[in-house]
Assembly symmetry: C2
Homo-oligomer: 116 residues x 2
Amino acid sequence: MSLAAELSARLKRTADGLVCAVVVDHATAEVLMVAWMDDEALERTLTTRRGTYFSRSRKRLWVKGETSGHTQHVREVRIDCDGDTLLVRVDQTGPACHTETHSCFDGEERLLLADG
Amino acid sequence: MSLAAELSARLKRTADGLVCAVVVDHATAEVLMVAWMDDEALERTLTTRRGTYFSRSRKRLWVKGETSGHTQHVREVRIDCDGDTLLVRVDQTGPACHTETHSCFDGEERLLLADG
């Protein structure tokens, strides 16, 4: 499975061949999580509409929810001005975070600077 | 200028000493841009409430808007579950993108997969 040449040429990948993916809730616009995609993860995400990423720690593709059941239906994908970041809008089933919070940024202990 | 030890210990930095910063519009929750912070950029962002990042290409700190005037007042900063990403809520003056679009993801040519 390979990306279309035109899209591939637009991507500015890290030395490891990855681009950053910011995943937001389609309904609320809330940022749910940030993960990484290699070319195959992006191609699979675009063709299957299931949020698919590359795990830097496990060094393999993973489909979000493959073990937890907390899957993502991908509604829209955008690329940023310089081609190194993707914005992925999803319908999230269950919590997006492995700690069971809705987003990976929820919770008192994750607040570094309060509104001001 | 250095980060508090407790916060420093929570950060999971890249080999280059950086963490990813997702910047969102405080009013609309829209994702405006993604940039990178080293310890000093984060410390300055927290203490000055001016969005401050580390440019990987120029290898130096930059205060958003220092040349364009499109500054950011930082309303809130959060860290994610595994300490490698920050969520920065800002009041954005003018366009956030250097291409003069409101966000770095705006525009027809940046749409890779349409709503479905």
